[in-house]
Each structure stands twice: as structure tokens, then as C-alpha cells.
């Protein structure tokens, strides 16, 4: 983290917070009340965006965590616990409950996750109404009539400050980077070594805790809570709409959305006699229709220079770390050619009626460069997917350095030393080249210092020829460049076994030579074992020790390239008939 930059942000935030905290001193209680609403929605919208925007899981039950916090506080407080203790309990209990229920919830993806979380709101409402011994049911909990407006206000300001600071830290931290990689492609993130589930739960619990504290403070402020007010569906989507309206996954997005909608609502209520909800809804609808990504991503706003800082995406906030000259941060070692690195034992993979891999047995020693060839659909990529456990085997076993991978999680497989690139590149689209590679670095068992990691990432990028694009967002890169990024990212996981899936197509012959040199260097200098799927024989022939040929899921040849090409079965597979002679490449 860049310390001075953070200090400035926090300093500014602190000053603003103090100013806001002084509002009760010199303005009307109406303004206080309005500001309270602003702060509440800001806290809810911002904390929602951690899971909704940064992690990419649309959590529609966020408002329920607010209600849960309000209930925990009120139950504690009305049972004579000190308010500070009650306010402390609210996030703790809520975070615990949320952690437990998010374990099963996170098995769901995308819209399924959204639907399931939506169902939690009415569920909590029913529980609150029916568990009368605990929650006093539909009657609600009435807190003693006290004048605590100022206290509640200051607490809410403090909470808003904490939420903002936490957001900034999240965005700029390696944790935030890994979270965003999960958002962009969860499977791939896992297969480069990111341990997914605990991180998701932690983020969800933190997000819920913030909402819960807000609930506790607000419940105290209102001095009355009941199931409908706390879990009702009509307000539940509002904080989410606010975050989306301003711009999700932007540092200032939720704040802008909250300010716009709260002020607009207030203005409508006091100036328009009917249809104010309809106008409110209309604004939301128009932003959704015409301003993709929210207000802060609109092209119009981008042209207003002084407000430029509001519109920055996360990667633009992170100060460019530059590129330093130096070698790769992989450890140099001699390969031990007697050690078995990877072994496939009778590997079979079926998809319903289609058998993609049939009884595949291969043994690869450390330091070998093995080419994997075969016609399209012969099972090459499927085999790679089985090795990195994107797919599970139907029969047989895959053993990496003596460990059967069947009992390893995907991220553990990455840590065991498997690194791969994908045939159709799967990069983290919304992140830069540097960030993609940094993710791989930070996902390792003992990650480097974050600032150093960003420099290291640049060196990996340089290695594959992406030095000029190191701070470009991947979404705008050509497919060829993305393949190179795949390789760089795979290398950054410090693999012992590298699976390369069709990188050479689209490269010029010079580029191919350079690439081949890299492959050789990776084995000679860094001791990697490499399996390379490729169609371009001229590339393979320059560097492979031997070649394995697949046809319709079975191994039909396994040996040095020249030998394999004379194999009649191979010839038949590629040319339709045996040529009966030598083939030169």
C-alpha cells in the first residue's frame, strides 16, 4: 500500500467527518435528520458494494443484516444491557449468523445467489414476527424514550468514516485484489491459488457487520423497531439502487448515488404533491437505461475535469508502480530428471454418453518438455482441465509429485505446483495486465510485499513481451496478447509443472522462436516441467523432448517427435492414411 496516498485520503475523510459531526451545533434538527438519513444509506450502500461490486455477488438481503443488527441491539438494550455493549453485540452476533448461512449460500452462483438472498428478507420478517418470546413479535420492541439524537448522530458519522476508510483499504489491499479476481473469474482465480471460500465469508461477514451497526444505531435513534420496518421489502432495494446508480465498484460511486437519491427524494416529497415515488423510480430507471455502470461512469461526467477523481476505476487509483529491470522472481534450480513430476494413471473422463478421455496413462519426469498433440476434440484441453481439477475424473488418478490430486482443492493444486494457461484465454477482464499477474503472485502460500509484487508483475509482463501494456485493462487487449498474459500469470504462480495450451497460433515466426527460447530457458534455468499443447509442429520440434499423441481420448503414441511421426496410427489420425515414409518438418 502506498502510505502517503492513504494518509491524505484518510485525513480528508477525517476532516469531512468532523465537519459533518458538527452539523447539530449550527443547523436545524431537520438538517440533522436529513444528514442522518444520508449517512445511514451511505453506510448501507457502501458496505453492500463490497459484496455486490467488489466480489460481484449480488446480495439482495443486505437490508436484512441492518434489521438483524437493529434487533440484536434492541433485544440486548431492552434487557438492560448497556447501550455500548448492545451496540457492540449487534455486529458480532450478526457477523456470526451471516458467516454460518453464507457457507451454504456461496455454493450458489450468479442469479441463483441473488434469488436465494432475496428470499432471506421475508424469512427474517417471519422469524421476527413469530419468535415472540425473543422479539416481541409484530408488536415490535419499544426502547425507552430518551434524548439520544446527538449521540446517535455522532455514532453514525463515526460509522460512515470507518466504512469509507475500510473501503479505501479494501480497494488498495491485496485482499481486495484477490476479491476482484474472484469476481472476474472465480474458477480461474482458484486455479491460480486463491483460496476462495474463507475470503468470501470474511468479506460478507464484514459487510454484514457494518450494516448491523448501522441498524443498531438507527434502531436506537428511532426508539422503535418492528418486523415490517426492519425487514420490509419496500425499502430493501433502495440502498442497492443507490450504489448501482452512483457506480458500483467505484470508490465514490455509492456516496454519489446516495446523495443524489436522498436529496431528490426529499425535494420530491416537499415540492410535489403526488407521484413523487413515480418520479423517483423514473430517475432510477433512466440511469439504468442510459448510463451503463452508473452516473460516475457516464461519458458526460468524464469530460468535467475537476471531477475526474470521482470517476476513476480502482486500478486508476493505484499509483502506477513502474517497471524495473531485472529477471523473473522464480527460483533457479536444476531439474531432477529422475523424479516423477506428473503421472496420469488410467485417467478416464466421461460427459454423459461421451467419453472424452479413455484410460490415459502418461508419466512425465521433472524437467521434461512434453508436447501434447492430437486432432481437435481429442481430449487435450480436457486432460489439462482434469490436471488442474477444473473437471473431476470419472476413473483413474492423477498424481503430482506423489500426491493424488483427488483430495486437493483447486487452490491447493496450484500451490502443489501446477500452473496453466487456457486455450481460450480466461483473464481477469476488468483488471490490468499488472493486476492479473500480481493476483497470481499474491495468491501464493507466502506472498511477497504488495508493493514489490507489483514490480515483479511488470517483470513477468516484460518477459512475455507485454511490457508496453502492463497498465492496460485486459478487456481491450487482443487475443494474442491475452495468451501471452496467460503465460505470464501462470509463471507468476511459481509453478513446477507448466501446462501451456496453444499459445503459438497467431504469433510470427520470430515471436515463435522467442517463445521457444523462453520455454527452453524455463526448463534449463528454472527447472520447470512443461507440457505443451500445440498444433504448430515447427514450434514443438525446436524444443520438446518427446510427444504424446491423443486421438479421441486415447493415447496412440508416446515418444520422441520423429519416432511418433512415423507411427502409422498417428499418420492415419492426421492425414487419413499411413504415408509409409518419413516425414520432415
Amino acid at each position: 500500500m502506498n502510505i502517503p496516498q492513504n494518509m491524505i485520503s484518510f485525513g480528508v475523510a477525517a476532516v469531512v467527518s468532523v465537519l459533518i459531526a458538527c452539523v447539530p451545533l449550527f443547523s436545524s434538527s431537520y438538517t440533522v435528520s436529513l444528514t442522518m438519513t444520508l449517512l445511514l444509506f451511505f453506510v448501507l450502500a457502501q458496505s453492500w458494494d463490497w459484496v455486490g461490486g467488489e466480489l460481484g455477488y449480488v446480495n439482495l438481503s443486505h437490508f436484512a443484516f441492518y434489521g438483524l443488527g437493529a434487533y440484536v441491539f434492541s433485544i440486548a438494550y431492552s434487557n438492560d444491557l448497556h447501550p455500548a455493549l448492545s451496540l457492540f453485540l449487534a455486529p458480532i452476533v450478526t457477523a456470526l449468523i451471516v458467516s454460518v448461512i453464507s457457507v451454504p449460500l456461496f455454493r450458489l452462483r450468479g442469479e441463483y445467489f441473488a434469488f436465494a438472498t432475496l428470499a432471506l428478507l421475508p424469512l427474517f420478517q417471519i422469524l421476527a414476527s413469530n419468535l415472540k418470546w425473543l422479539t416481541k413479535g409484530s408488536e415490535g420492541i419499544i426502547l425507552p424514550a430518551e434524548q439520544i439524537t446527538e449521540t446517535a448522530f455522532i455514532l453514525m458519522v463515526a460509522l460512515a468514516f470507518v466504512t469509507f476508510v475500510a473501503s479505501t483499504i479494501l480497494v488498495r489491499s491485496p485482499f481486495g485484489l484477490l476479491i476482484r479476481s474472484i469476481r472476474d473469474d472465480e474458477e480461474v482465480a482458484e486455479s491460480i491459488g486463491v483460496r476462495i471460500l474463507p475470503r468470501k465469508i470474511i468479506l460478507m461477514a464484514l459487510s454484514a457487520a457494518i450494516a448491523a451497526i448501522a441498524g443498531g444505531i438507527h434502531g436506537w435513534y428511532l426508539s422503535f423497531i418492528d418486523p415490517t420496518t426492519m425487514f420490509g421489502l419496500d425499502v430493501a432495494l433502495v440502498p442497492i439502487a443507490m450504489a448501482l446508480l452512483g457506480g458500483s465498484a467505484l470508490l465514490w460511486g455509492p456516496l454519489v448515488g446516495v446523495i443524489v437519491l436522498v436529496f431528490m427524494n426529499q425535494w420530491l416529497l416537499t415540492n410535489i404533491s403526488i407521484l413523487h415515488s413515480a418520479f423517483y423510480g423514473l430517475v432510477i430507471l433512466l440511469v439504468g437505461r442510459f448510463l451503463p455502470g452508473g452516473l460516475l461512469r457516464s461519458q458526460l461526467l468524464g469530460k468535467v475535469k475537476p471531477l475526474g477523481f470521482l470517476t476513476k476505476e480502482h486500478h486508476e487509483h493505484i499509483v502506477s508502480a513502474g517497471t524495473t529491470i531485472g529477471g523473473l522472481s522464480l527460483s533457479k534450480r536444476e531439474p531432477d530428471q529422475d523424479r516423477v513430476a506428473l503421472e496420469c494413471k488410467n485417467v478416464t473422463k466421461r460427459f454423459g454418453g461421451n467419453t472424452a478421455l479413455k484410460d490415459v496413462s502418461i508419466r512425465i519426469n521433472e524437467g521434461e518438455i512434453v508436447g501434447l498433440i492430437g486432432a481437435n476434440g481429442s481430449g487435450k484441453t480436457t486432460l489439462f482441465n482434469c490436471i488442474s481439477r477444473i473437471l473431476d475424473l470419472s476413473e483413474g488418478a492423477i498424481v503430482v509429485y506423489g500426491d493424488d490430486i483427488a483430495h486437493l482443492r483447486r487452490d491447493q493444486i496450484a500451490h502443489a505446483g501446477i500452473g496453466r494457461s487456457y486455450q481460450i484465454p480466461r483473464s481477469f477482464e476488468r483488471m490490468t495486465v499488472r493486476e492479473n499477474i500480481t493476483t497470481a503472485l499474491m495468491a501464493s502460500i507466502s506472498p511477497p510485499d504488495y508493493a514489490n509484487a507489483k514490480h515483479e508483475a511488470a517483470r513477468f509482463a516484460q518477459y512475455v513481451g507485454l511490457a508496453d501494456q502492463v497498465d492496460v485493462v485486459v478487456a481491450s487487449l487482443s487475443p494474442q496478447k491475452r495468451k501471452l498474459l496467460e503465460l505470464a500469470r501462470a509463471l507468476a504462480t511459481s509453478p513446477k509443472i507448466l501446462l501451456v495450451d496453444e499459445v503459438a497460433s497467431g504469433l510470427t515466426s520470430n515471436e515463435i522462436s522467442e517463445f521457444v527460447n523462453h520455454i527452453r530457458e524455463l526448463r534449463d534455468v528454472y527447472g520447470l516441467t512443461i507440457i505443451w499443447v500445440e498444433h504448430i509442429f515447427s514450434a514443438l520440434s525446436q524444443v520438446v523432448d518427446r510427444v504424446v499423441v491423443l486421438e479421441q481420448g486415447s493415447v496412440i503414441a508416446d515418444g520422441p517427435l520423429a519416432e511418433v511421426l512415423e507411427n502409422e496410427n498417428v499418420q492415419r489420425s492426421y492425414f487419413g492414411a499411413a504415408t509409409g515414409g518419413e516425414i520432415e518438418c
Binding site: V23, S129, G137, I142, A145, I259, L269
Partner: protein
């Protein structure tokens, strides 16, 4: 970059500070215009209940002004009434903000309303904080009227302890005498309170309570409850529910051929009758106000409602929304000026004339002795007052027709 950041942050902070000023600087006790501030739930979850009320209270203020306004004896002048009304969207937090606005920015003298206990609770805190008397409307939950508050009053019609008083009086006089009651209760604070209180009363009066079933407000299929009622075979089925929530219940009771000596509904209204149709025949119920009561305020209320097109049987809680302004203006007249201390004193101690009869507030601001109900029964499709006998339009048909 950092400078513009700072600048923008300050702009944001200032934006949230704007709208300041508007202190209530001392009070002129003899103004020309008395300002009453309130909110009505024109939109949101409770708006179906409060249709037409906004227009009703504005029309009432107009009528007062047309008749010369409010006499301020201490000032030797009359003052006109201005009603400041906003939509609280059925939301407590919104109500709080709007009441704050009316107090700080618009300098209202007194507060009337809002409706509904959840809003009432929030707003009562606001009133207490600013030490401004408020007469709330449809806020029936007794625990809103908290110990230690001095500014909070309310005129719910009817109140829980008096709700079915006349009904049970009537039951003493009918033949054959009912002995068993089955309670069907909507899970809502008021209806829970009503059934809780009157279950106890019933037991003390030696009725046997053969069943109590509680249902959530959005329940649509009442089969399970009705089957249990049929098994229990009670003499009286006592439905403690809001009219709208019980529409499917009444329909399905007819469908499943439920029989009883009487089916009693605590919020029997025109809305229920319209939606249920002929099935409502023979139901008995309670109503907070009938326009045959012989007093001036009642006549005025009938006039105002007719003017805005409100049918008191259709909108049974309208009268509770109407009354706060009546009480507040009477209190001001009795006090002689808009001096808040004097008006507060009046509210605490005086007896007011409401459309439904006398109104007096106890030390918690709750009209515990006065806001009762009249017993009605639907005969030939019309609501007839059947108890008390002095206000009867028709004698009660017992056992209830069409439920045999």
C-alpha cells in the same frame, strides 16, 4: 489531484449542511395564522387505509376558516388555521424528517397526527424533544403513550379497553345465550391487543374460549383455520383483524359453510362489505363513530366527509384522523392563545367535544375513558346500529341471519 479531492469533499460536506437556518425564534402568542403541522400516508404500505384523509383534514381547516377561524381570547382576535401536510410514505424515518422540517423550517405551532403506531412512536420522540404538543391520530398501541412524556396525546377510535364493551353488554341480553367463543386474530399489534384484552374479559364473564388462531397479515388461504373452527363449533366467532386482511377469511368461511350464532368482526367496514359482497350479511361489528350522534362536531364531521366524498362506513378510521385537529383547536381556544404551555395544560386537564362524544386524556395522553365503539350489524346489506339501545337504528337479529 489532491487539492481537487479536498475541494470536492468540502463541497460534499457543504451540500449536506445546506438548508440550514429556520430557527424557531421565540413564539408570537397572538399570530394571525395558527400553523398545524402533520403528515398523512398518501403512499406506501398504509396508504390503502388512508385514502381521502389528506383532503378531509384540509377541508376541515377550510371550514373553520370560513366560519371565522379560532378565537384567541387572550389576544382579543381571531386567527385562521393553516394546515401543513406532507406524505410520510408510511415510513417512520420519513415522518421524523418531515416533522423535523416542519418544526425547524416552517415554524409550526402545534402538531397533529400522524397515523399508525410505528410512525407515532418515532414522531412522539420528536415532539417531546422540541417540547411541542402533538395530538396523534390512528395511534392505538397503548405503549406509544409512554411514562414521562408530557406532550403526547392521541385520539384513536376506538381504544382497545373499550372496543367490544358494548358488544358484550349486548350479549347479556340476547336469547339463546351464547357460551363459547373462538378468536381469530390477525398478527398485528392492535388486533393482538384487542383479542388479548377481550379474551380475558370473555373468560372473566364466564364464556368459554374454545380456540384462538393467529394469522399473518398476508395470509390468503384460511382453510386450516376454518377447519379448526368447524371442529370447535363455537357459538361466537370473534374476528380481531383489519378489514382488508380478513376479506378472504370471510369469503372462505361462507364457502366452507361455517355456522355460528354470531360472527363478530372488530373492524367491520364498508371496505370489507364491498369486497366480500353479500357474504357480509349478518356480521356484527364495532364502529367508532356514527353520524347520528347528536352534537355539533359530529354534524360538522359528517358535512366535511360528505364534501370530500368519504363514507364513514367505508373508511372507518377516518374519524380518528379527523379528530386531532378538532381537539387541538378546542384546546387553543380554551387556552386563549397559542402559548404552548397553556395549550398543553388544557390538553392535560380539559374535556373536549369530539364527533364521537366527549374526549378526555389520562396522564399518559391516552383517551382511556372516552373513545368507545358502537355495535353494528349488517341487516339487508346495511350497517344498523344495534347497541346501545338509545342510539339503535334497528334491534339486533339474533342468532345472526345467514350464519345458520
Amino acid at each position: 489531484m489532491n487539492f481537487s479531492k479536498t475541494l470536492a469533499s468540502l463541497a460534499v460536506a457543504s451540500a449536506s449542511l445546506c438548508g440550514a437556518a429556520g430557527y424557531a425564534v421565540g413564539q408570537d402568542n397572538c399570530p394571525e395564522v395558527i400553523k398545524l403541522g402533520t403528515t398523512v400516508s398518501d403512499s406506501g404500505a398504509f396508504s390503502p387505509l388512508s385514502a381521502g384523509w389528506h383532503e378531509m383534514i384540509v377541508a376541515y381547516a377550510q371550514k373553520i376558516n370560513d366560519a371565522g377561524g379560532v378565537a384567541l381570547s387572550d389576544c382579543g382576535s381571531n386567527a385562521s388555521v393553516e394546515l401543513v401536510v406532507y406524505d410520510d410514505q408510511s415510513n417512520p424515518a420519513t415522518a421524523v424528517t418531515l416533522f423535523e422540517k416542519m418544526i425547524s423550517e416552517e415554524g409550526v405551532d402545534f402538531l397533529v397526527g400522524p397515523d399508525w403506531s410505528s410512525l407515532g412512536l418515532a414522531v412522539s420522540s420528536v415532539a417531546e424533544r422540541h417540547d411541542i404538543p402533538v395530538v396523534m391520530a390512528n395511534v392505538a398501541a397503548p405503549n406509544v403513550y409512554r411514562e414521562g412524556q408530557t406532550n403526547v396525546f392521541g385520539t384513536p377510535y376506538p381504544i382497545v379497553p373499550l372496543w367490544s364493551k358494548r358488544y358484550f353488554e349486548m350479549l347479556e341480553t340476547v336469547e339463546p345465550k351464547p357460551t363459547s367463543i373462538f378468536f381469530v386474530v390477525q398478527d398485528n399489534p392492535i388486533t393482538n391487543a384487542i383479542s388479548g384484552f377481550w379474551t380475558k374479559q370473555a373468560e372473566e364473564s364466564s364464556y368459554s374460549v374454545v380456540g384462538t388462531e393467529t394469522f399473518p397479515s398476508d395470509l390468503k388461504d384460511f382453510t386450516s383455520i376454518i377447519l379448526k373452527i368447524r371442529q370447535a363449533k363455537p357459538d361466537i366467532i370473534y374476528i380481531s383483524s383489519f378489514d382488508t386482511a380478513s376479506v378472504p377469511l370471510v369469503q372462505q368461511m361462507r364457502q366452507l359453510r361455517v355456522k355460528a350464532m354470531d360472527v363478530h368482526h372488530v373492524m367491520l367496514s364498508g371496505a370489507l362489505a364491498n369486497q366480500v359482497g353479500e357474504d357480509v350479511e349478518g356480521l356484527s361489528g364495532e364502529i367508532g363513530w356514527i353520524n347520528s350522534i347528536d352534537n355539533e362536531e359530529s354534524a360538522l364531521a359528517a358535512e366535511v366527509m360528505a364534501e370530500v366524498g368519504l363514507d364513514p362506513f367505508l373508511s372507518v378510521f377516518a374519524i380518528a384522523r379527523y379528530t386531532p385537529a378538532v381537539v387541538m383547536l378546542q384546546a387553543i381556544e380554551m387556552a386563549g392563545s397559542v402559548d404552548r404551555d397553556k395549550v398543553r395544560q388544557m390538553l392535560r386537564s380539559a374535556t373536549f367535544e369530539g364527533p364521537g362524544g366527549e374526549i378526555r386524556f389520562d396522564h399518559l395522553g391516552y383517551p382511556s375513558e372516552t373513545n368507545g365503539a358502537f355495535t353494528i350489524q349488517i341487516q339487508d346489506g346495511n350497517p344498523e346500529v344495534v347497541w346501545p339501545p338509545e342510539l339503535q337504528t334497528k334491534p339486533v337479529a339474533w342468532p345472526a341471519p345467514s350464519w345458520q
